[in-house]
């Protein structure tokens, strides 16, 4: 059974875990559940991967990861899963997605993010990645960025209807 408690918990939790010794009890008081109820709900949200990760969310620019490259590849569709899986295994790759192409202007279908302290280091890693993953000759482009206009993270202010639609089925 899904409830409004869950939606309220999702909303209360997204601002962050209360920094007190018993944060789940503090949340419970806010959303009208018991501490055990909150703990069980969070565990089930993690099991369903509604919560992807739980812990510190870092502002990577402040950690000196100033060079951020999005590398886009045009790989044959039948190889995309294998190559994506291989690329994602490298420890300097922070995200790896398959995305829709936008033909003819944008033929790329595999994206990975590589963060590093400077562009030279990031470029070395890209060459290493090409060798390691057998991507020689695969069309690709490197899009560097060091300018961020906006980073707020996704916010969900009224998740009740949306949440029910997805997990209430």
């Amino acid at each position: 059974m899904r409830s409004e408690h869950e939606a309220r918990l999702i909303e209360a939790l997204q601002r962050g875990l209360p920094l007190v010794p018993r944060p789940y009890a503090a949340l419970a008081a806010r959303v009208g559940l018991t501490e055990t109820g909150v703990i069980e709900l969070i565990q089930s949200l993690q099991n369903e991967a509604v919560i992807k990760r739980f812990g510190v969310i870092v502002r990577h620019h402040e950690l000196g990861y100033c060079a951020n490259a999005m590398v886009v590849w045009n790989v044959p569709d039948r190889q995309v899963t294998e190559l994506g899986t291989r690329i994602a295994r490298l420890d300097y790759v922070t995200l790896c997605y398959r995305r829709a192409r936008s033909l003819p202007q944008w033929p790329y279908n595999l994206y990975c993010m590589i963060h590093g302290r400077d562009r030279m280091r990031v470029r070395e890693r890209i060459s290493e990645l090409i060798d390691t993953c057998g991507l020689q000759g695969v069309p690709h482009e490197v899009l560097f960025s060091c300018r961020r206009f906006k980073q707020r993270g996704a916010r969900y202010s009224s998740v009740v209807p949306a949440f029910k639609r997805v997990v209430g089925a």
Partner: protein, 147 residues
């Protein structure tokens, strides 16, 4: 940031305990006291090293829409278009990149239909086409940011 802060960031990017005394449990594995861990997390949040301490939600599983979009904007018009794009609450972050496709932003919406609507509104207000690059698959990455 000292070695203890680094250890906190490197060890707590996922898998924070869900127990009655989670900070005490996490502190024990880090060799800290519960109070010290709480104080340090609070300081890392205050000084902006951390944006948040808590969950990272999977937008699609919450029932929302999520996509990456890109635009090709002439340099002279870039600031105007950036202001338009950033004014939408649906835009989660926006990056300038060195490429003909020079503006890249993430759309995170409560309703899946809002992705397309937002794109149409941005196109109308900016006068430039928005290319939608929705995610088709995600490949698992283990480590996030080591410091």
């Amino acid at each position: 940031m000292d070695t203890i802060d680094r250890a906190i960031i490197n060890n707590l990017q996922g898998g924070f305990p869900v127990s009655e005394r989670p900070f005490a449990d996490a502190a024990m594995t880090l060799g800290l006291s519960e109070d010290e861990l709480l104080e340090r997390i609070e300081r890392l949040l205050d000084d902006g090293t951390l944006t948040r301490f808590g969950p990272m939600y999977h937008a699609e599983r919450l029932g929302g829409g999520l996509s990456l979009a890109a635009m090709q904007v002439p340099r002279a018009d870039f600031a105007r278009v950036a202001d338009i794009v950033n004014s939408f609450p649906e835009v989660a972050h926006n990056y300038a990149r060195d490429h003909a496709f020079n503006m890249w932003f993430v759309l995170a919406t409560e309703e899946p239909e809002r992705v397309g609507e937002t794109i149409a509104e941005i196109e109308q207000r900016s006068g430039y086409r928005v290319y939608n690059m929705p995610k088709l698959d995600e490949y698992f990455v283990g480590l996030r940011f080591a410091v």
